[in-house]
Symmetry: C2
Subunit: 426 residues, 2 copies
């Protein structure tokens, strides 16, 4: 296949006509497919139906540790749930607090707590003139929304296949004491699907921050969400930070939202003893405790980390064909044209697509016109602004594999059409 | 029975010896009873066991409104859950947001949101020199803990059998624009058990606050928690505020924590459209949504407000004898002695006891010595400081009725002993 840039004007015009015709045909099909958000499909949700049977009226509501889960108490979560969530993150149960139904509110509350009261004794961020967060890009729009809401300045940091550019991270963190945090999705990053390399994890753990209240926000959302057995592993950053003598530099988050039920799972934070004590200090004012019934339900259902791993294989079986439908279509239709790059993650919920500069918004709009909804272009950048207007996040989880194939076809068509128009217009 | 104050020194000394002996006997029994917190007893929790059967793997996980409760979405809660919780508060479903497992975090988050971002467009409280809250006393220690944590100055306001002294409330609210809120438990107040009279509710609704961001925090925790059929009703303040042209002045909160499972129920807030829009603006950053599985579980189990009312009768049957054990013991042993007053609420979770000035801490300590744990004296006042050292909160729900009788006997004994010692020492 010939590279688009090598086509003559005449060839491009012929191509545009063909693509326009195909686009009109696609529009005529009246598709309505949504690849905007990382939502599990109903088939995936069906896998966890029996979670609801794990606690019934005839169940023992007292835990092995002797706690009546139906009553108040146990602010930091059931010991059994701490063990399960700790095992997911590869840390001991005593480094874990189990919270409510999802991890996003834990992250929000951690920022909110730092804003109002300061991180473990340091100045509350609301009393500072300037607070900054580093944001590896492309990244997760909901992370950026939290920092934006608190008026925190976001600095984009480029990523490659190994994770964030650690030279840039180090420069900012070690020279600027207004840099208080960095958002990371270290395994199957949202949306690029990058698994941070061991070197990158170690580089994080050995940072020497200018600010004593700098913290790494390690959103391990896809800790056990591999699509393939040979998916890369992630080094335990909590252990690495301890080894490097910086145990307080890290907050790790995880949840079962994409394991059991989305938004009705259980979620946890892991950190050092000092950080957990700080969290508890405000937590004990904010709540009498989270939903221990749902915590025990999850423990009884999954039993242990092996139970979760087996469960995740069922998710992978459903998700893999959808990812592969996209990978195949991209490979077949786009490789060699030199108009786009894309990632082919071995896990997680997203594929990151880089179109020709200045075309992403138009591609998303064209797809919408043909009935395929994507995440808004720019969403993967702080303030929703992709300076190159190039990155598009693809979320293949929700549609069926068959629909995903159709959606990928429409997407590829729109990429080609917009790119040709762009080349002709330029 | 003779009033203690009318006893001669000799009579008091004889009485002290008798009481000391009785106290030593009581200590010897090795009791271990806890009346410190408003915890439901295991028998009460058993009532709701079948809640867990309301959703099983064979259930339909799609609501009547067409929502898959296992997936993301519906930030403000299921329509069916809004209806149920709205009916509990006597307001329309469109005035309700359903949140997570308890109402305390909703209140905390509302204060936190006001602190960081300001109430619906007004100056964030963190940017103000001084923010004050009114605290009707005796009141709920966890309310006071929230305002204390955010550095909000608390002003105690006395209450009588009709609710807070509205002349004092009006004076502060209408003259001081740093007064931004008031904590209220309007039905079966914690701990006095007062149901605010219609006049008091109307007086609240017609306040003309000096601060545009003044809000009434109406914690309707015991909305349906009557012990007797003839328990006083509470006027709907949301309707009254609307009538008075102040729809934005009120936040109402409620939960099923003491209906289904403590800390594993569902909780809600009711307010005006403008206030709800303001809440949603930050909520959409904080969370993708609360646990809809538990919301539907509650809806399927209770069906409607009548289902809740029937359910609450079962709670009342368990709780009533415990309250009456206390009422009877107090009446039998303390009436006529002129050394204490107490409330006899027709619902809720608490009894408020006023001992002779300067004796509450000592009484609580004595009870502890004899194996009966009470809420710390002073807890019912802002900053944990009861200026008269007189008020003690009694929480009869957790022990069995039989144990409650024993605990009340010990309590009465300690009240008498400490009072006599006080009279002799004074």
């Amino acid at each position: 296949m010939k590279k688009y840039k090598e086509l003559s004007r005449e060839e491009l015009e012929t191509l545009r006509s063909e693509l326009q015709k195909a686009f009109e045909d696609a529009k005529g099909k009246g598709l309505s497919l949504n690849m905007a958000r990382g939502k599990p499909s109903p088939l995936q949700l069906d896998i966890s139906g029996e979670l609801c049977d794990a606690l019934t009226s005839s169940s023992d509501f007292i835990t092995e540790s002797g706690i009546d889960i139906r009553n108040y108490g146990e602010l930091t979560g059931l010991p059994e749930a701490k063990k399960l969530m700790g095992d997911m993150m590869g840390v001991d149960a005593d480094k874990v607090i189990v919270f409510g139904n999802a991890s996003l509110p834990i992250m929000y509350d951690t920022v909110s707590r730092s804003y109002a009261f300061g991180v473990n004794g340091s100045t509350p961020w609301c009393k500072l003139d300037k607070v900054k967060f580093l944001c590896p890009v492309p990244g997760y729009d909901r992370h950026f929304a939290i920092t934006e809401q608190f008026g925190i300045e976001m600095i984009a940091v480029p990523m490659d296949d190994n994770g964030p550019d650690m030279d840039i991270v180090r420069k900012y963190v070690e020279s600027d004491d207004s840099v208080k945090g960095i958002w990371c999705v270290p395994r199957f990053s949202n949306p690029a699907g990058v698994v941070y390399s061991d070197d990158v994890v170690k580089a994080f753990a050995t940072l020497k921050p200018a600010a004593e209240d700098f913290r790494i926000y390690w959103d391990n959302a896809y800790a056990v969400h591999s699509l393939y057995d040979d998916a890369p592993k992630l080094l335990d950053i909590i252990g690495e930070c301890e080894k490097a003598g910086h145990p307080d530099m890290i907050f790790e988050f995880c949840s079962t939202s994409k394991i059991s039920f989305a938004g009705a799972g259980i979620a946890a934070m892991a950190s050092s003893a000092d950080n957990l004590a700080w969290v508890k200090k405000t937590m004990t004012i904010q709540t009498i405790g989270y939903d221990k019934v749902n915590q025990l339900r999850h423990v009884r259902y999954f039993k242990d980390i092996d139970g979760i791993r087996e469960h995740m294989k069922k998710h992978a079986e459903i998700l893999r064909p959808k990812f592969e439908a996209v990978y195949d279509e991209f490979e077949k239709e786009l490789s060699g044209l030199d108009i786009a790059t894309w990632t082919t993650p071995k896990g997680g919920y997203f594929i990151s697509f880089n179109a020709m500069e200045g075309t992403a918004k138009e591609i998303v709009a064209k797809c919408k016109e043909a009935g395929v909804t994507l995440t808004g272009a720019g969403a993967t950048y702080p303030y929703g602004k992709d300076p190159k207007d190039s990155n598009i996040r693809i979320a293949p989880s929700f549609p069926s594999a068959e629909d995903m194939k159709k959606a990928a076809e429409v997407f590829v068509l729109c990429v080609k059409l917009v790119t040709v128009e762009h080349l002709l217009g330029a």
